[in-house]
């Protein structure tokens, strides 16, 4: 640790067993310019106050655990360097638009359900036997969906989205982008099945294209773009159903299996 410089962290504290309202607690933390906000929180937990509660694991921006509001911005705390805030205090809160479990930990269950809803898996009846080798997919076909497959489920976009904040049912940027990811995968045949969910009112049309999800996304997924494309695709799908009410697209086997259990 370099000399004796310090930085102040103001942590959002809330304990479901004892508190009815949250409060902020300040901690002086040694300042190291290589440290990220997460390091500072870990230092507090290790050496000052073991009751501080937060999630983290990889510390390299890929597991998606450590999203929090840092001075009001949704951030991966393992990618937010103290040096970009020093010497001013850093205020850390749990991601907004989610219920708070405890301190910096939010309830993710809603998202986990929404993710399941968009059927984020390959749907097709004619599954090849592995002895036939891999499905062919050209680099150009891969590029069609690759960007949307980069989502680490960090939930920063949900915290940046005003629609998520106001409509609980809204599937939200990441879930919709992942649905779109499979719709664009040349190996998939489940588009119409998936679209059924995505087309439902709360889902996609709830998006007013504020676009902040794409601004905060640390992995450049561009969920806002994905949703607009999905809307266009959805309009086509509507039209298709209108002109040929039966047989628009194929039904996959996977989903019906899942639903039965």
């Amino acid at each position: 640790m370099s000399d004796s410089k310090t930085i102040t962290l103001e942590l959002f504290r809330y304990h479901p067993e004892t508190d009815s309202e949250p409060r902020f607690q300040s901690y002086e933390v040694p300042y190291d310019e290589d440290w990220v906000v997460l390091d500072a929180i870990n230092w507090i937990k290790d050496y000052v106050d073991g009751s501080v509660t937060h999630r983290w694991s990889c510390r390299m921006g890929v597991c998606g655990s450590c999203g929090m509001m840092v001075n009001g911005e949704p951030k991966l705390t393992c990618a937010a360097f103290l040096k970009s805030y020093y010497p001013f205090p850093v205020r850390v809160e749990p991601l907004v638009n989610f219920p708070v479990e405890r301190d910096l930990v939010v309830d993710m269950d809603g998202f986990m359900e929404k993710l399941r809803d968009v059927k984020p898996y390959i749907i097709r009846d004619d599954v090849n036997d592995t002895s036939q080798g891999e499905y062919r997919q050209s680099p150009a076909e891969l590029a069609q969906y690759k960007q949307y497959s980069m989502c680490i489920n960090c939930m920063l976009c949900y915290s940046a989205c005003p629609v998520v904040g106001h409509e609980e049912e809204f599937l939200g940027p990441a879930a919709l982008a992942l649905g779109h990811r499979y719709n664009k995968d040349s190996r998939d045949r489940g588009k119409s099945e998936r679209m059924e969910v995505m087309l439902s009112n709360e889902a996609m049309w709830g998006c007013t294209f504020v676009g902040e999800c794409s601004v905060v996304c640390p992995k450049h997924v561009d969920p806002a773009g994905a949703i607009q494309q999905a809307k266009a695709m959805g309009a086509q799908e509507y039209f298709k159903r209108f002109v040929m009410p039966r047989g628009a697209g194929t039904k996959g086997a996977g989903a019906s299996r899942g639903a039965g259990a």
């Binding site: 479901p16 067993e17 479990e101 680099p139 150009a140 106001h166 902040e212 806002a224 773009g225 494309q229």
Partner: protein
């Protein structure tokens, strides 16, 4: 679990992030675009009613108040168009093989390019 803490939303949520403000402005500009459309439709109506009616209407539109309104509407429409052109590459990505066209290039190709071409055409037609 009842112990969870739910944060409430401020009614002025749209002031919370610069991006939200930009969004609100974008929505606002569409009001001006719509209002100008109404003016255009009225103009067409006048034109249908005969040359004299149109001349009278155009005369009215050249008053100072209307000129200011036109100016404002123009700024708003341009702003609105710019936000659209920014969005177009996101909503309609163009791929050349496995490479996605860079957003600025796509915006020029699908937005600014056609826009300027049409505008130039109109200007040419008007001053001809």
């Amino acid at each position: 679990m009842s112990g969870q803490y739910h944060r409430s939303h401020s009614r002025a949520w749209f002031l919370e992030r610069p991006g939200y403000i930009r969004f609100m402005i974008r929505e606002l500009t569409s009001f001006f675009v719509a209002a100008y459309l109404v003016v255009l439709i009225l103009t067409l109506g006048r034109a249908a009613a005969g040359e004299a009616a149109l001349a009278e209407w155009l005369q009215a539109l050249s008053g100072t108040g209307w000129m200011v309104a036109h100016g404002v509407a123009l700024v708003m429409a341009v702003w609105h168009a710019v936000t659209w052109f920014k969005a177009v590459p996101q909503a309609m990505p163009i791929f050349i093989g496995e490479k996605k066209l860079d957003a600025p290039v796509a915006a020029v190709l699908m937005g600014y390019g056609p826009w300027l071409t049409v505008t130039a055409g109109v200007v040419w037609w008007a001053v001809r």
